[in-house]
Protein backbone atom coordinates (compact mmCIF):
# COMPACT_ATOMS: atom_id res chain seq x y z
CA UNK A 1 0.00 0.00 0.00
CA UNK A 2 1.36 3.38 -0.91
CA UNK A 3 1.56 6.38 1.35
CA UNK A 4 -1.20 8.20 -0.46
CA UNK A 5 -3.59 5.32 0.16
CA UNK A 6 -2.94 5.56 3.85
CA UNK A 7 -3.52 9.29 3.81
CA UNK A 8 -6.82 8.94 2.04
CA UNK A 9 -8.02 6.25 4.36
CA UNK A 10 -7.07 8.18 7.41
CA UNK A 11 -9.04 11.20 6.35
CA UNK A 12 -12.60 10.29 7.41
CA UNK A 13 -11.23 9.35 10.82
CA UNK A 14 -9.78 12.81 11.27
CA UNK A 15 -13.06 14.37 10.22
CA UNK A 16 -14.85 12.57 13.03
CA UNK A 17 -12.13 13.24 15.53
CA UNK A 18 -13.06 16.89 15.70
CA UNK A 19 -16.23 16.00 17.54
CA UNK A 20 -14.25 14.75 20.48
CA UNK A 21 -14.79 11.00 20.33
CA UNK A 22 -12.37 8.76 22.14
CA UNK A 23 -10.47 5.94 20.46
CA UNK A 24 -12.80 3.32 21.94
CA UNK A 25 -15.89 5.07 20.72
CA UNK A 26 -14.40 5.36 17.25
CA UNK A 27 -13.44 1.70 17.26
CA UNK A 28 -16.96 0.74 18.30
CA UNK A 29 -18.43 2.81 15.49
CA UNK A 30 -16.12 1.19 12.96
CA UNK A 31 -17.01 -2.23 14.32
CA UNK A 32 -20.72 -1.48 14.00
CA UNK A 33 -20.26 -0.67 10.33
CA UNK A 34 -18.48 -4.00 9.75
CA UNK A 35 -21.25 -6.30 8.52
CA UNK A 36 -19.33 -9.52 9.12
CA UNK A 37 -18.61 -8.48 12.69
CA UNK A 38 -22.24 -7.56 13.36
CA UNK A 39 -23.51 -10.87 11.99
CA UNK A 40 -20.86 -12.64 14.08
CA UNK A 41 -22.04 -10.86 17.20
CA UNK A 42 -25.61 -11.96 16.47
CA UNK A 43 -24.46 -15.56 16.02
CA UNK A 44 -22.50 -15.42 19.27
CA UNK A 45 -25.49 -14.00 21.14
CA UNK A 46 -27.68 -16.78 19.74
CA UNK A 47 -25.20 -19.46 20.80
CA UNK A 48 -24.98 -17.84 24.23
CA UNK A 49 -28.79 -17.87 24.47
CA UNK A 50 -28.78 -21.54 23.46
CA UNK A 51 -26.38 -22.22 26.33
CA UNK A 52 -28.17 -20.08 28.90
CA UNK A 53 -31.61 -21.38 28.00
CA UNK A 54 -30.54 -25.05 27.82
CA UNK A 55 -32.56 -26.04 30.92
CA UNK A 56 -35.58 -24.27 29.46
CA UNK A 57 -35.32 -26.32 26.27
CA UNK A 58 -35.01 -29.45 28.39
CA UNK A 59 -38.19 -28.41 30.17
CA UNK A 60 -40.14 -27.64 26.98
CA UNK A 61 -39.16 -30.87 25.22
CA UNK A 62 -39.34 -32.86 28.41
CA UNK A 63 -35.98 -34.41 27.51
CA UNK A 64 -33.05 -34.52 29.89
CA UNK A 65 -29.67 -34.31 28.08
CA UNK A 66 -28.38 -37.51 29.75
CA UNK A 67 -31.50 -39.65 29.71
CA UNK A 68 -32.14 -42.15 26.94
CA UNK A 69 -35.67 -42.36 25.54
CA UNK A 70 -35.57 -45.66 23.64
CA UNK A 71 -39.34 -45.94 23.27
CA UNK A 72 -39.85 -42.61 21.52
CA UNK A 73 -36.41 -41.84 20.11
CA UNK A 74 -35.61 -45.08 18.34
CA UNK A 75 -37.48 -46.71 15.47
CA UNK A 76 -38.54 -50.35 15.86
CA UNK A 77 -35.34 -51.26 13.98
CA UNK A 78 -33.33 -49.47 16.66
CA UNK A 79 -32.37 -46.49 14.50
CA UNK A 80 -32.59 -42.94 15.88
CA UNK A 81 -35.59 -40.88 14.74
CA UNK A 82 -35.03 -37.84 12.54
CA UNK A 83 -35.92 -34.22 13.28
CA UNK A 84 -39.56 -33.66 14.23
CA UNK A 85 -41.95 -32.09 16.70
CA UNK A 86 -40.85 -34.32 19.54
CA UNK A 87 -37.11 -34.42 18.88
CA UNK A 88 -36.42 -31.08 17.19
CA UNK A 89 -33.13 -32.16 15.62
CA UNK A 90 -33.71 -35.86 15.98
CA UNK A 91 -32.27 -38.32 18.46
CA UNK A 92 -28.82 -39.83 18.79
CA UNK A 93 -27.93 -43.48 18.56
CA UNK A 94 -28.71 -44.06 22.22
CA UNK A 95 -32.08 -42.34 22.04
CA UNK A 96 -31.14 -39.00 23.57
CA UNK A 97 -32.42 -35.64 22.34
CA UNK A 98 -29.79 -34.13 20.02
CA UNK A 99 -31.04 -30.55 20.33
CA UNK A 100 -31.07 -30.58 24.11
CA UNK A 101 -27.62 -32.17 24.11
CA UNK A 102 -26.30 -29.55 21.71
CA UNK A 103 -27.73 -26.79 23.92
CA UNK A 104 -25.97 -28.24 26.96
CA UNK A 105 -22.88 -28.73 24.80
CA UNK A 106 -22.89 -25.01 24.07
CA UNK A 107 -22.52 -24.50 27.82
CA UNK A 108 -19.36 -26.62 27.92
CA UNK A 109 -17.91 -24.94 24.84
CA UNK A 110 -18.53 -21.43 26.10
CA UNK A 111 -17.50 -22.33 29.64
CA UNK A 112 -14.17 -23.71 28.45
CA UNK A 113 -13.63 -21.05 25.80
CA UNK A 114 -14.42 -18.09 28.02
CA UNK A 115 -12.92 -19.26 31.30
CA UNK A 116 -9.67 -20.46 29.73
CA UNK A 117 -9.34 -17.20 27.83
CA UNK A 118 -10.20 -15.18 30.93
CA UNK A 119 -7.58 -16.96 33.05
CA UNK A 120 -5.00 -16.72 30.29
CA UNK A 121 -5.65 -13.02 29.80
CA UNK A 122 -5.57 -12.23 33.52
CA UNK A 123 -2.31 -14.02 34.22
CA UNK A 124 -0.81 -13.30 30.82
CA UNK A 125 -1.29 -9.56 31.27
CA UNK A 126 0.06 -9.55 34.83
CA UNK A 127 3.13 -11.64 34.05
CA UNK A 128 3.75 -9.94 30.71
CA UNK A 129 3.53 -6.48 32.27
CA UNK A 130 5.87 -7.32 35.15
CA UNK A 131 8.39 -9.12 32.94
CA UNK A 132 8.33 -6.45 30.26
CA UNK A 133 8.52 -3.53 32.68
CA UNK A 134 11.21 -4.81 34.99
CA UNK A 135 13.26 -6.76 32.46
CA UNK A 136 16.43 -8.32 33.84
CA UNK A 137 17.38 -11.95 33.99
CA UNK A 138 14.00 -13.14 35.27
CA UNK A 139 12.50 -11.68 32.13
CA UNK A 140 15.16 -13.30 29.97
CA UNK A 141 14.47 -16.72 31.45
CA UNK A 142 10.73 -16.22 31.22
CA UNK A 143 10.89 -15.23 27.56
CA UNK A 144 12.91 -18.34 26.79
CA UNK A 145 10.53 -20.57 28.75
CA UNK A 146 7.52 -19.12 26.93
CA UNK A 147 9.24 -19.80 23.60
CA UNK A 148 9.85 -23.42 24.58
CA UNK A 149 6.31 -23.91 25.92
CA UNK A 150 4.83 -22.52 22.73
CA UNK A 151 6.98 -24.82 20.61
CA UNK A 152 5.16 -27.86 22.02
CA UNK A 153 1.74 -28.66 20.63
CA UNK A 154 -1.26 -28.36 22.98
CA UNK A 155 -2.38 -31.81 22.14
CA UNK A 156 0.82 -33.60 23.08
CA UNK A 157 0.84 -31.97 26.51
CA UNK A 158 -2.87 -32.65 26.95
CA UNK A 159 -2.41 -36.31 26.08
CA UNK A 160 0.38 -36.77 28.60
CA UNK A 161 -1.54 -34.93 31.31
CA UNK A 162 -4.75 -36.87 30.67
CA UNK A 163 -2.75 -40.09 30.87
CA UNK A 164 -1.25 -38.97 34.17
CA UNK A 165 -4.22 -37.48 36.00
CA UNK A 166 -7.31 -38.45 34.01
CA UNK A 167 -9.62 -36.44 31.79
CA UNK A 168 -11.79 -33.67 33.20
CA UNK A 169 -13.22 -30.29 32.29
CA UNK A 170 -10.91 -28.52 34.70
CA UNK A 171 -7.85 -30.22 33.18
CA UNK A 172 -9.03 -29.18 29.72
CA UNK A 173 -9.42 -25.59 30.89
CA UNK A 174 -6.03 -25.71 32.60
CA UNK A 175 -4.17 -26.95 29.52
CA UNK A 176 -5.84 -24.44 27.21
CA UNK A 177 -5.42 -21.60 29.69
CA UNK A 178 -1.75 -22.45 30.13
CA UNK A 179 -0.93 -22.31 26.44
CA UNK A 180 -3.08 -19.25 25.83
CA UNK A 181 -1.35 -17.66 28.80
CA UNK A 182 2.02 -18.22 27.19
CA UNK A 183 0.84 -16.56 23.97
CA UNK A 184 -0.73 -13.67 25.86
CA UNK A 185 2.23 -13.11 28.15
CA UNK A 186 4.57 -13.04 25.17
CA UNK A 187 2.54 -10.40 23.36
CA UNK A 188 2.03 -8.24 26.47
CA UNK A 189 5.71 -8.48 27.37
CA UNK A 190 6.80 -7.33 23.93
CA UNK A 191 4.37 -4.42 23.94
CA UNK A 192 5.34 -3.38 27.46
CA UNK A 193 9.02 -3.28 26.55
CA UNK A 194 8.07 -0.91 23.74
CA UNK A 195 6.00 1.39 25.97
CA UNK A 196 8.49 1.37 28.82
CA UNK A 197 10.89 3.51 26.77
CA UNK A 198 8.29 5.87 25.34
CA UNK A 199 8.44 9.52 26.33
CA UNK A 200 5.03 9.52 27.95
CA UNK A 201 6.15 6.90 30.46
CA UNK A 202 9.33 8.88 31.04
CA UNK A 203 7.17 11.94 31.67
CA UNK A 204 5.37 10.32 34.60
CA UNK A 205 8.47 8.51 35.79
CA UNK A 206 10.33 11.81 36.12
CA UNK A 207 7.50 12.93 38.41
CA UNK A 208 8.26 10.02 40.70
CA UNK A 209 5.29 7.83 39.72
CA UNK A 210 5.45 4.32 41.16
CA UNK A 211 6.06 1.39 38.80
CA UNK A 212 2.60 0.07 39.66
CA UNK A 213 0.95 3.32 38.62
CA UNK A 214 2.97 3.42 35.38
CA UNK A 215 2.05 -0.15 34.54
CA UNK A 216 -1.65 0.22 35.34
CA UNK A 217 -2.46 3.79 34.33
CA UNK A 218 0.05 4.55 31.62
CA UNK A 219 0.93 1.25 29.93
CA UNK A 220 -2.18 -0.88 30.40
CA UNK A 221 -4.64 1.31 28.43
CA UNK A 222 -2.34 0.97 25.44
CA UNK A 223 -2.42 -2.81 25.73
CA UNK A 224 -6.20 -3.06 25.61
CA UNK A 225 -6.21 -3.19 21.82
CA UNK A 226 -3.71 -6.01 21.26
CA UNK A 227 -4.98 -7.93 24.29
CA UNK A 228 -8.60 -7.69 23.13
CA UNK A 229 -7.69 -8.87 19.66
CA UNK A 230 -5.64 -11.79 20.92
CA UNK A 231 -8.26 -12.77 23.50
CA UNK A 232 -11.03 -12.69 20.90
CA UNK A 233 -8.96 -15.06 18.76
CA UNK A 234 -8.07 -17.31 21.71
CA UNK A 235 -11.76 -18.01 22.44
CA UNK A 236 -12.44 -19.92 19.19
CA UNK A 237 -9.10 -21.71 19.50
CA UNK A 238 -10.10 -22.86 22.96
CA UNK A 239 -13.53 -24.00 21.78
CA UNK A 240 -12.01 -26.00 18.94
CA UNK A 241 -9.46 -27.50 21.28
CA UNK A 242 -12.07 -28.57 23.81
CA UNK A 243 -14.14 -30.15 21.04
CA UNK A 244 -11.07 -31.92 19.68
CA UNK A 245 -10.11 -33.31 23.08
CA UNK A 246 -13.65 -34.50 23.72
CA UNK A 247 -13.79 -36.00 20.24
CA UNK A 248 -10.66 -37.99 21.04
CA UNK A 249 -12.18 -39.04 24.35
CA UNK A 250 -9.62 -37.05 26.34
CA UNK A 251 -11.79 -34.12 27.32
CA UNK A 252 -14.93 -34.06 29.38
CA UNK A 253 -16.54 -37.22 30.68
CA UNK A 254 -17.81 -38.99 27.53
CA UNK A 255 -21.43 -38.97 28.80
CA UNK A 256 -21.37 -35.20 29.22
CA UNK A 257 -22.96 -33.51 26.23
CA UNK A 258 -20.02 -31.71 24.60
CA UNK A 259 -19.99 -30.90 20.90
CA UNK A 260 -16.81 -32.86 20.34
CA UNK A 261 -18.16 -35.92 22.16
CA UNK A 262 -21.48 -35.69 20.28
CA UNK A 263 -19.54 -35.65 17.00
CA UNK A 264 -17.48 -38.62 18.12
CA UNK A 265 -20.72 -40.51 18.88
CA UNK A 266 -22.02 -39.70 15.44
CA UNK A 267 -19.17 -41.29 13.49
CA UNK A 268 -20.72 -44.75 13.38
CA UNK A 269 -24.22 -43.56 12.57
CA UNK A 270 -24.09 -40.67 10.17
CA UNK A 271 -24.82 -42.88 7.21
CA UNK A 272 -28.25 -43.61 8.63
CA UNK A 273 -28.66 -40.30 10.47
CA UNK A 274 -26.60 -37.57 8.79
CA UNK A 275 -28.16 -34.99 11.11
CA UNK A 276 -26.08 -36.42 13.95
CA UNK A 277 -23.02 -35.25 12.08
CA UNK A 278 -24.28 -32.17 10.27
CA UNK A 279 -26.02 -30.30 13.11
CA UNK A 280 -23.18 -30.34 15.64
CA UNK A 281 -20.58 -29.77 12.91
CA UNK A 282 -22.42 -26.72 11.59
CA UNK A 283 -23.00 -25.37 15.09
CA UNK A 284 -19.34 -25.76 16.01
CA UNK A 285 -18.20 -24.24 12.74
CA UNK A 286 -20.61 -21.30 12.99
CA UNK A 287 -19.49 -20.55 16.53
CA UNK A 288 -15.76 -20.61 15.84
CA UNK A 289 -16.19 -18.75 12.55
CA UNK A 290 -18.22 -16.06 14.32
CA UNK A 291 -15.60 -15.62 17.02
CA UNK A 292 -12.80 -15.51 14.45
CA UNK A 293 -14.63 -13.00 12.25
CA UNK A 294 -15.42 -10.86 15.27
CA UNK A 295 -11.77 -11.02 16.32
CA UNK A 296 -10.68 -9.88 12.85
CA UNK A 297 -13.30 -7.15 12.95
CA UNK A 298 -12.09 -5.94 16.34
CA UNK A 299 -8.53 -5.85 15.05
CA UNK A 300 -9.52 -3.79 12.02
CA UNK A 301 -11.67 -1.49 14.15
CA UNK A 302 -8.90 -0.83 16.64
CA UNK A 303 -6.21 -0.42 14.02
CA UNK A 304 -7.80 1.06 10.91
CA UNK A 305 -4.46 1.67 9.25
CA UNK A 306 -3.84 -1.97 8.47
Amino acid sequence: MSLTDAAFEAEPVHAEVVHGKGPWQLAWERLRRDKAAVISMVVIVLVALLAILAPLFALITGHDPLTQYPSTALTPEGLPVGPGADFWLGADSLGRDLFVRLAYGARISLLVGLSATFLATLFGVIVGLLAGYYGGWVDGVLARVLDVVLSFPYLLVAIVLVAAVGASVSLTIFVIAFFSFAAMARVVRGQTIGYREREFTEAVRSLGASPLRIMVIDVLPNLVAPVTVLASLLIPTSIVFEATLSFLGLGVDPRTPSWGAILADSTDFYRVAPGLLVFPAVLLLLTTLAFNLLGDGIRDALDPKR
Binding site: E202, A203, L207
Partner: protein
Protein backbone atom coordinates in the same frame (compact mmCIF):
# COMPACT_ATOMS: atom_id res chain seq x y z
CA UNK B 1 24.37 28.97 45.31
CA UNK B 2 23.13 28.17 41.82
CA UNK B 3 19.71 26.66 41.24
CA UNK B 4 21.27 23.60 39.62
CA UNK B 5 24.85 22.42 39.90
CA UNK B 6 26.18 19.67 37.68
CA UNK B 7 29.64 18.58 38.64
CA UNK B 8 31.71 16.07 36.71
CA UNK B 9 28.66 14.02 35.77
CA UNK B 10 29.19 10.83 33.80
CA UNK B 11 26.53 8.56 32.39
CA UNK B 12 27.59 5.31 30.75
CA UNK B 13 25.16 2.82 29.28
CA UNK B 14 26.30 -0.77 29.45
CA UNK B 15 25.99 -2.81 26.27
CA UNK B 16 24.90 -6.29 27.21
CA UNK B 17 24.97 -9.54 25.36
CA UNK B 18 23.69 -12.99 26.13
CA UNK B 19 20.32 -14.46 26.96
CA UNK B 20 20.48 -16.00 30.39
CA UNK B 21 23.58 -14.46 31.86
CA UNK B 22 24.12 -11.05 30.42
CA UNK B 23 27.64 -9.83 30.38
CA UNK B 24 28.77 -6.36 29.66
CA UNK B 25 30.59 -6.13 26.36
CA UNK B 26 31.05 -2.37 26.22
CA UNK B 27 29.84 0.98 27.41
CA UNK B 28 28.34 3.96 25.64
CA UNK B 29 29.95 7.06 27.10
CA UNK B 30 26.87 9.22 26.61
CA UNK B 31 27.82 11.94 29.09
CA UNK B 32 31.47 11.94 30.08
CA UNK B 33 32.44 14.46 32.73
CA UNK B 34 30.12 17.43 32.37
CA UNK B 35 30.17 20.33 34.83
CA UNK B 36 27.94 23.35 34.61
CA UNK B 37 25.59 25.42 36.70
CA UNK B 38 22.24 27.02 36.02
CA UNK B 39 21.30 30.25 37.76
CA UNK B 40 17.75 31.03 38.77
CA UNK B 41 15.86 32.94 36.10
CA UNK B 42 18.26 32.32 33.23
CA UNK B 43 18.00 30.15 30.17
CA UNK B 44 20.93 27.87 29.48
CA UNK B 45 21.00 26.57 25.95
CA UNK B 46 22.73 23.28 25.16
CA UNK B 47 23.57 22.56 21.53
CA UNK B 48 25.31 19.74 19.75
CA UNK B 49 24.79 17.18 17.00
CA UNK B 50 22.50 14.25 17.63
CA UNK B 51 24.25 11.62 19.72
CA UNK B 52 26.41 14.13 21.58
CA UNK B 53 24.71 13.28 24.89
CA UNK B 54 22.61 16.40 25.33
CA UNK B 55 19.34 14.46 25.77
CA UNK B 56 21.04 12.11 28.20
CA UNK B 57 22.29 15.12 30.15
CA UNK B 58 18.71 16.45 30.26
CA UNK B 59 17.46 13.11 31.56
CA UNK B 60 20.14 13.11 34.25
CA UNK B 61 19.05 16.60 35.34
CA UNK B 62 15.41 15.53 35.69
CA UNK B 63 16.33 12.37 37.58
CA UNK B 64 15.21 10.04 34.78
CA UNK B 65 18.69 8.58 34.59
CA UNK B 66 20.84 7.71 37.57
CA UNK B 67 24.23 9.20 36.94
CA UNK B 68 27.14 6.78 36.74
CA UNK B 69 29.37 9.17 38.68
CA UNK B 70 29.50 12.82 39.66
CA UNK B 71 26.89 14.96 41.35
CA UNK B 72 23.83 16.93 40.45
CA UNK B 73 22.63 19.23 43.20
CA UNK B 74 19.37 21.06 42.86
CA UNK B 75 18.04 23.67 45.24
CA UNK B 76 14.69 21.97 45.79
CA UNK B 77 12.84 18.70 45.17
CA UNK B 78 13.92 17.28 41.81
CA UNK B 79 10.73 15.27 41.32
CA UNK B 80 8.61 18.37 41.92
CA UNK B 81 10.53 21.46 41.00
CA UNK B 82 12.29 20.16 37.90
CA UNK B 83 9.98 19.37 35.01
CA UNK B 84 10.64 18.33 31.46
CA UNK B 85 9.22 19.20 28.06
CA UNK B 86 9.89 16.40 25.63
CA UNK B 87 10.97 16.41 22.04
CA UNK B 88 8.32 14.29 20.41
CA UNK B 89 4.84 15.81 20.74
CA UNK B 90 3.40 12.47 19.59
CA UNK B 91 5.43 10.16 21.80
CA UNK B 92 5.25 12.24 24.95
CA UNK B 93 1.47 12.18 25.33
CA UNK B 94 -0.22 8.88 26.08
CA UNK B 95 -2.56 8.29 23.12
CA UNK B 96 -5.08 6.43 25.26
CA UNK B 97 -5.57 9.11 27.89
CA UNK B 98 -7.43 12.38 27.83
CA UNK B 99 -5.58 15.68 27.72
CA UNK B 100 -7.08 16.71 31.06
CA UNK B 101 -5.75 13.65 32.88
CA UNK B 102 -2.36 13.99 31.23
CA UNK B 103 -1.98 17.59 32.41
CA UNK B 104 -3.26 16.63 35.86
CA UNK B 105 -0.73 13.77 36.21
CA UNK B 106 1.84 15.81 38.16
CA UNK B 107 -0.89 16.94 40.58
CA UNK B 108 -2.22 13.41 41.02
CA UNK B 109 1.20 11.84 41.47
CA UNK B 110 2.17 14.47 44.03
CA UNK B 111 -1.25 14.21 45.73
CA UNK B 112 -1.99 17.86 45.18
CA UNK B 113 -5.52 19.19 45.66
CA UNK B 114 -8.91 17.60 45.21
CA UNK B 115 -10.35 16.29 41.95
CA UNK B 116 -12.32 19.49 41.44
CA UNK B 117 -9.46 21.83 42.31
CA UNK B 118 -7.27 19.86 39.93
CA UNK B 119 -9.83 20.28 37.18
CA UNK B 120 -9.79 24.03 37.73
CA UNK B 121 -6.01 24.06 37.72
CA UNK B 122 -5.94 22.07 34.47
CA UNK B 123 -8.29 24.56 32.80
CA UNK B 124 -6.17 27.47 34.02
CA UNK B 125 -3.04 25.81 32.70
CA UNK B 126 -4.66 25.12 29.34
CA UNK B 127 -5.68 28.76 29.04
CA UNK B 128 -2.18 29.80 30.10
CA UNK B 129 -0.52 27.89 27.26
CA UNK B 130 -3.09 29.00 24.73
CA UNK B 131 -5.35 25.95 24.53
CA UNK B 132 -9.11 26.02 24.74
CA UNK B 133 -9.89 24.85 28.30
CA UNK B 134 -13.07 23.20 27.06
CA UNK B 135 -10.96 20.63 25.22
CA UNK B 136 -9.71 18.92 28.36
CA UNK B 137 -11.77 15.83 27.57
CA UNK B 138 -10.17 15.23 24.22
CA UNK B 139 -7.53 12.71 23.24
CA UNK B 140 -4.05 13.66 21.97
CA UNK B 141 -4.89 12.40 18.47
CA UNK B 142 -7.33 15.30 18.12
CA UNK B 143 -4.59 17.92 18.41
CA UNK B 144 -1.93 19.17 16.05
CA UNK B 145 1.77 18.86 16.81
CA UNK B 146 2.02 22.41 18.08
CA UNK B 147 -1.05 22.03 20.27
CA UNK B 148 0.32 18.82 21.69
CA UNK B 149 3.54 20.55 22.59
CA UNK B 150 1.44 23.13 24.44
CA UNK B 151 -0.15 20.26 26.33
CA UNK B 152 3.32 19.02 27.21
CA UNK B 153 4.23 22.51 28.46
CA UNK B 154 1.03 22.75 30.51
CA UNK B 155 1.88 19.41 32.12
CA UNK B 156 5.39 20.64 32.92
CA UNK B 157 4.00 23.79 34.57
CA UNK B 158 1.33 22.08 36.68
CA UNK B 159 3.41 21.97 39.84
CA UNK B 160 4.88 25.49 39.48
CA UNK B 161 8.38 24.13 38.87
CA UNK B 162 11.49 26.19 39.35
CA UNK B 163 13.42 24.61 36.49
CA UNK B 164 12.03 23.38 33.18
CA UNK B 165 14.29 21.22 31.06
CA UNK B 166 13.20 21.48 27.43
CA UNK B 167 14.62 18.61 25.37
CA UNK B 168 14.44 19.78 21.76
CA UNK B 169 10.94 21.11 22.35
CA UNK B 170 10.42 22.44 18.84
CA UNK B 171 12.64 20.32 16.60
CA UNK B 172 9.78 17.96 15.70
CA UNK B 173 7.48 20.84 14.73
CA UNK B 174 6.94 22.66 11.45
CA UNK B 175 9.07 25.75 11.19
CA UNK B 176 5.99 27.98 11.19
CA UNK B 177 4.85 26.46 14.48
CA UNK B 178 8.30 26.53 16.09
CA UNK B 179 8.24 30.29 16.56
CA UNK B 180 4.86 30.18 18.29
CA UNK B 181 5.99 27.56 20.78
CA UNK B 182 9.34 29.28 21.41
CA UNK B 183 7.57 32.58 22.01
CA UNK B 184 5.14 30.89 24.36
CA UNK B 185 8.09 29.52 26.34
CA UNK B 186 9.65 32.99 26.49
CA UNK B 187 6.39 34.62 27.57
CA UNK B 188 5.87 32.02 30.26
CA UNK B 189 9.38 32.61 31.54
CA UNK B 190 8.73 36.32 31.86
CA UNK B 191 5.37 35.75 33.49
CA UNK B 192 6.29 32.97 35.91
CA UNK B 193 9.98 33.65 36.47
CA UNK B 194 11.00 30.23 35.16
CA UNK B 195 14.48 28.88 34.66
CA UNK B 196 15.10 26.89 31.48
CA UNK B 197 17.64 24.43 30.26
CA UNK B 198 16.94 24.51 26.56
CA UNK B 199 18.37 21.69 24.50
CA UNK B 200 18.42 21.83 20.73
CA UNK B 201 20.52 21.18 17.68
CA UNK B 202 19.14 24.27 15.97
CA UNK B 203 21.61 27.06 16.77
CA UNK B 204 19.32 29.90 15.78
CA UNK B 205 16.53 28.79 18.13
CA UNK B 206 18.99 28.43 20.99
CA UNK B 207 20.45 31.84 20.27
CA UNK B 208 17.00 33.38 20.38
CA UNK B 209 16.02 31.97 23.78
CA UNK B 210 19.27 31.53 25.67
CA UNK B 211 21.23 33.76 28.01
CA UNK B 212 24.15 31.36 27.98
CA UNK B 213 24.94 28.53 25.59
CA UNK B 214 26.89 25.33 26.12
CA UNK B 215 28.21 23.33 23.16
CA UNK B 216 28.49 19.57 23.58
CA UNK B 217 30.54 17.14 21.56
CA UNK B 218 30.71 13.40 22.27
CA UNK B 219 29.59 13.63 25.89
CA UNK B 220 31.66 16.66 26.83
CA UNK B 221 31.12 20.39 26.97
CA UNK B 222 33.63 21.97 24.61
CA UNK B 223 32.60 25.58 25.03
CA UNK B 224 30.23 27.55 27.21
CA UNK B 225 29.63 31.30 27.04
CA UNK B 226 27.01 34.04 27.13
CA UNK B 227 24.91 33.74 23.98
CA UNK B 228 26.07 36.73 21.93
CA UNK B 229 29.69 36.19 22.93
CA UNK B 230 29.61 32.56 21.78
CA UNK B 231 27.96 33.35 18.48
CA UNK B 232 30.16 36.34 17.73
CA UNK B 233 33.47 35.10 19.07
CA UNK B 234 33.57 31.30 19.13
CA UNK B 235 36.87 29.99 20.49
CA UNK B 236 36.48 26.26 20.01
CA UNK B 237 36.93 25.04 16.43
CA UNK B 238 33.89 22.77 16.81
CA UNK B 239 31.68 25.71 17.78
CA UNK B 240 32.99 27.66 14.85
CA UNK B 241 32.31 24.75 12.52
CA UNK B 242 28.77 24.36 13.84
CA UNK B 243 28.12 28.06 13.41
CA UNK B 244 29.44 28.15 9.90
CA UNK B 245 27.39 25.10 8.97
CA UNK B 246 24.19 26.70 10.20
CA UNK B 247 22.51 28.88 7.65
CA UNK B 248 22.52 32.33 9.14
CA UNK B 249 20.30 34.99 7.70
CA UNK B 250 22.98 37.65 7.65
CA UNK B 251 24.12 38.91 4.27
CA UNK B 252 27.22 40.54 5.73
CA UNK B 253 28.51 37.30 7.09
CA UNK B 254 31.18 35.59 5.00
CA UNK B 255 29.62 32.48 3.55
CA UNK B 256 32.53 30.10 3.47
CA UNK B 257 31.34 27.04 5.30
CA UNK B 258 33.69 24.76 7.17
CA UNK B 259 32.73 21.27 6.26
CA UNK B 260 33.50 18.82 9.02
CA UNK B 261 35.14 15.76 7.66
CA UNK B 262 34.19 12.24 8.61
CA UNK B 263 31.51 11.02 10.96
CA UNK B 264 31.04 11.59 14.65
CA UNK B 265 33.24 8.92 16.28
CA UNK B 266 31.57 6.16 18.27
CA UNK B 267 30.79 7.10 21.88
CA UNK B 268 31.58 3.47 22.78
CA UNK B 269 35.30 4.08 22.24
CA UNK B 270 35.83 7.83 21.99
CA UNK B 271 39.10 9.15 20.51
CA UNK B 272 42.04 9.79 22.77
CA UNK B 273 43.11 13.28 23.80
CA UNK B 274 40.72 15.89 22.51
CA UNK B 275 37.67 14.06 21.23
CA UNK B 276 37.34 16.43 18.34
CA UNK B 277 40.87 15.97 17.02
CA UNK B 278 40.10 13.48 14.20
CA UNK B 279 37.79 16.05 12.62
CA UNK B 280 39.48 19.26 13.70
CA UNK B 281 41.16 21.45 11.05
CA UNK B 282 43.50 22.88 13.70
CA UNK B 283 44.46 19.61 15.37
CA UNK B 284 48.13 19.04 16.18
CA UNK B 285 50.16 16.29 17.80
CA UNK B 286 49.31 17.45 21.32
CA UNK B 287 45.54 17.16 20.67
CA UNK B 288 45.80 13.39 20.13
CA UNK B 289 47.31 12.68 23.52
CA UNK B 290 46.37 15.39 25.98
CA UNK B 291 42.76 16.06 26.78
CA UNK B 292 42.10 19.83 27.02
CA UNK B 293 40.34 21.15 30.13
CA UNK B 294 37.49 23.60 30.14
CA UNK B 295 39.24 26.91 30.85
CA UNK B 296 38.35 30.55 31.11
CA UNK B 297 36.05 32.68 33.15
CA UNK B 298 32.53 33.44 31.93
CA UNK B 299 33.52 32.33 28.47
CA UNK B 300 35.05 28.87 28.84
CA UNK B 301 36.44 26.57 26.20
CA UNK B 302 38.28 23.28 26.11
CA UNK B 303 40.91 23.54 23.38
CA UNK B 304 44.69 23.59 23.16
CA UNK B 305 44.68 25.86 20.09
CA UNK B 306 41.58 28.03 20.36
CA UNK B 307 40.62 30.48 17.68
CA UNK B 308 41.69 34.00 18.44
CA UNK B 309 38.90 36.58 18.44
CA UNK B 310 38.31 37.50 14.82
CA UNK B 311 40.13 34.44 13.45
CA UNK B 312 38.13 32.46 10.90
CA UNK B 313 38.24 28.73 10.92
CA UNK B 314 39.47 27.29 7.67
CA UNK B 315 38.88 23.86 6.34
CA UNK B 316 42.00 22.07 5.32
CA UNK B 317 40.70 21.21 1.88
CA UNK B 318 38.94 24.49 1.30
CA UNK B 319 42.03 26.54 2.21
CA UNK B 320 42.78 29.71 0.26
Amino acid sequence: MSLLDVSDVRKYFPIKSGIFFQREVGRVHAVDGVSLSVEAGETLGVVGESGCGKSTLARCMTGLHEVTSGNITFDGDVRRDVQMVFQDPYGSLNPRRRIGSIIADPLVIHREGTPSSRRDRVRDLMALVGLNPEHYNRFPAEFSGGQRQRVGIARALALNPRLVVCDEPVSALDVSIQAQVVNLLKDLQAELGLTYVFIAHDLSVVRYVSDRVAVMYLGKIVEIAPGEELYERPRHPYTAALLSAASVADPDRPRDRVILRGDVPSPISPPSGCRFHPRCPKAQERCTVEEPRLMGDGHKWACHFPLEPGERLQSREVGE
